[in-house]
Symmetry: C2
Subunit: 532 residues, 2 copies
């Protein structure tokens, strides 16, 4: 039970009960332009339908309502908007956190702990960060100025007024496996700067976003604003609406989290809307040496198992030189590869521990991918560790898979140099530590990569690696061991995607993430005399 929560003892069971009460019922959400009801969520823990249906609304009606709602919101002062949005985050925290935990578990398939920490409090923190950056960018514009200059014999004195104008209606796409973490900062960045937001959840993970939308709609209405500033556009797997929303003439901002393929389409086709994306890539590990090789392998194994590697920051490719440098002397690559496989096997052999770390596999397609990668791996390299379902201790029907670990040569780049979403890892044989660094950073730069991980003992090598990863645009974690998951991104000090490679451009916590969501317009007129 999380210790910091005010009244977790009562809130946790109440949240679970609230979640259970939602099952099998229509979700109460008042939206404009409703044309029907739909809902096709399956719990990865039970592989049964949740049975919740949501209103489906006509995209034209959503855009029209969002546009109509904006002027009043944009006219509110910055403090009013920021305070209301902070209150929204606070309500998600105080009143809905444990409902959201179960909603995330039974759609995204995360463990209880990850749904609480990663999809809950950490995601709320990232939302607060977005408000801070939005405020910085907006406060950089003075509301007014007096200006005077002589033109010939004529002294011209003008009063200049500056208005922050929202860019327009934003569409926020959320992904199946980690909906809130990207959605909340994106929604808040758009809303803080005066825009309206249409949330377009992945059909597999609607509930966390439906709860979010309802909280903000209720709050907006209560505070005298138009609730249509925040709406939900539900589509289905058979009838996707993503392209319709992006190509809608009133779409001004797109926030997208999802597949690299659709993300690339979004970036290339969003214009005239601006696009903030977080897609995927192959996150890389260079293991050249370690002061404590066991500890390094333990950290790597844990992080590669975490939520079955279904995080955008999960390491996938481990680049190994022929020998790994340790204080006890060089350790052959194959031994290190075998020890990594063994560490993963050990972590996942106890079902209770596996349930905590691996949780479930969000989508059934991932199991097919594992099967394909197993075959390819056997044919072209060596199977270090096979994947198998493990019996979840609490949910016998859970969709589960332990990690697959395949060892490959550099020639199998077509296999490993792209994201293979799910519990799939590759060990890649490299010629040397330098070669491992070169391969890893080239793959990140060319194929996209959000994170990089380095273990090395040579300070000069570490420094070269820092520069190489910076150029490749992946955030680097060096020689980290211990209980912190290697890919943990701390609010208030860790940046997200850099925009320097194909994994997207949504840093979440930069001025670039907020500054183009609004425009500065001005009017100027001669200073009016007080006697006039």
């Amino acid at each position: 039970m999380p210790k910091l929560y005010p009244d977790a003892d009562s809130a946790a069971p109440a949240g679970q009960a609230a979640f259970e009460a939602l099952l099998g019922t229509p979700f109460a959400l008042d939206l404009p332009g409703v044309t029907g009801q739909a809902g096709e969520e399956l719990s990865p823990y039970t592989q049964e339908p949740l049975g919740i249906t949501y209103p489906q609304a006509d995209p034209d009606a959503l855009f029209a309502a969002a546009k109509a709602a904006m002027p009043g919101w944009a006219a509110a002062d910055i403090d009013t908007r920021l305070m209301l949005l902070m209150e929204g985050l606070d309500r998600l925290y105080r009143d809905h956190l444990f409902t959201l935990v179960h909603a995330v578990m039974h759609t995204a398939g995360q463990s209880y702990n990850m749904a609480y920490a990663g999809s809950g409090v950490n995601a709320l923190d990232r939302g607060i960060e977005a408000l801070v950056y939005a405020e910085q960018a907006m406060r950089a514009v003075t509301p007014q100025a007096h200006w005077a200059r002589r033109f010939g014999r004529d002294e011209i004195s003008l009063e200049k007024t500056y208005r922050l104008m929202p860019r327009g209606v934003a569409v926020c796409f959320t992904c199946a496996s980690f909906p809130t973490w990207n959605a909340w900062p994106s929604m808040l960045a758009s809303l803080a700067t005066g825009n309206a937001v249409i949330v377009k959840p992945h059909p597999a993970s609607v509930l966390p976003m439906a709860i979010t939308v309802r909280v903000f709609r209720d709050l907006l209405a209560e505070q005298g604003f138009d609730p249509n500033l925040v709406t939900l556009c539900l589509d289905t797997l058979d009838a996707p609406l993503g392209k319709v929303l992006i190509k809608h003439p009133d779409c001004a901002i797109v926030d997208f989290t999802g597949s690299a393929r659709f993300g690339q389409w979004v970036e290339a086709n969003a214009h005239p809307a601006i696009a903030f994306t977080e897609t995927s890539g192959c996150n890389t590990v260079v293991l050249a040496g370690a002061e404590d090789l066991d500890a390094a392998i333990r950290s790597l194994a844990t992080t590669m198992c975490m939520f079955s590697a279904q995080m955008c920051t999960s390491p996938q490719n481990v680049y190994l030189p022929p020998q790994i440098d340790t204080p006890e002397g060089p350790v052959p690559r194959d031994e290190v590869a075998a020890r990594l496989a063994e560490a993963i096997a050990r972590l996942t052999e106890d079902p209770r521990r596996a349930g905590m770390i691996l949780a479930t596999v969000q989508g059934a397609g991932t199991l097919d991918l594992i099967a394909r990668m197993r075959d390819e791996g056997r044919a072209r390299g060596k199977l270090l560790l096979d994947s198998r379902p493990y019996p979840h201790p609490d949910f016998p029907g859970a969709r589960t898979a332990t990690p697959l670990l395949v060892q490959l040569g550099k020639d199998a780049r077509d296999l490993y140099a792209e994201e293979r979403f799910g519990p799939i890892g590759f060990v890649i044989d490299c010629d040397s530590a330098e070669d491992a660094l070169e391969q890893a950073t080239t793959d990140a730069a060319q194929k996209g990569g959000i994170t990089g991980f380095l273990y090395a003992r040579d300070d000069a090598f570490i420094e070269r690696a820092e520069h190489a990863y910076a150029r490749a645009g992946a955030q680097l974690t060096i020689n980290l061991t211990g209980a912190m998951p290697l890919n943990f991104a701390a609010a208030y000090s860790d940046y997200h995607v850099t925009g320097l490679n194909g994994a997207g451009n949504a840093a979440l916590t930069t001025l670039a993430f907020v500054a183009s969501r609004f425009a500065v317009t001005q009017s100027r007129r001669p200073v009016r005399s007080v006697h006039g």
Copy 2:
């Protein structure tokens, strides 16, 4: 003679002599990958070739050289880069301003005064502003942080290092009629944030940019940086290279000033490069009433004549209600239209005064457009004022044209609701003041517009107009009379394009103009013990 310049008495003739010495010679500029020489500039003042040739360089070689030059520049600290760039602006001012004045006159066709003020000191000021915004955006990122958190029983302490990484090679397109004003802020925004810049001047106005490029290359080399951080890519009207540069795999940033047609292509096709654009639109005037109608008409007439309306901020469309409200009573629209035509005619009848205000017509195509608009205007509306060449007092061979003014009904929107580049104005008959405002702001919103101008006596109407123009995304000047040109954009207090309509998105002086030109990458590692 400008009074503020330190030694204008000697600098002005020296600058002119330096310009004249360049005529008919190859321009000395050392570039990578030179494949030949070209130059096809004609002076609008003489309609004779300048006879200057410039090195033509292979785009691949320019990108390769720019990429190779970047790491050293990006590694320099922010202060070093900013100080060097300030020195570059200072050298343009101290050592080259009067050469640039003549270079701008004899390529863009501006008057001496506008070349000095608008393309000289005001453009330098806008360059300084870009440095200020770049500094703000970069300083918002801390270079390092210490971070600690408990994970279970494990206290994790990390040192986190943040690096500002340039986005990549920028291409800066400059336009024929006003090259420096957009180019300098764009170049400096890219350079300050660590990028390299390839300048792609319009083939008709190369010299001002060639001088700029040479100044920065010399300064960079002198200070130990690679001069290929700033290069020139010359193309010709017959063999344009614009699309080649934008679609080059190493193109990361595009700054574009030019036609709406190509600008739209740039915005839609620049991806994965980011694009900053300033294209065109129909700048609108609503004349509903005036305290001093003569003064308002005089200001309008002057601004519509200024540089033959070849500025991106020149008013083009004047929307008139049936009656214009004045303290002396309502004045019929046709009388106001006639008085505007008369004021323009009066301003341009004396060749010396016309030379100061109208200057020349940059491109021969503008004369064809005037002829076509004259015919269309006669057929579909009323010719209020015909255009004619005027004899320039100093340059008998100058390409000149006095303004054409056509009165049209709202049904001729296909004619007036787009930019008609050059000395072409429209008076548009509207049903009422409200209708005039509605038409003007709709045209700005839908067809693009950078500036708007309003004359009105009713405060409530003015307030509605401020909101309507803010929503349309055009910068509004209200009830301004006197010696200041209505479209004068003051450095340090006037924003440029808003991004809210089709006239582009390059505000020049916002965080959005600089913040995405660099990325934040980070590395983090356990805090090293001082005893370790």
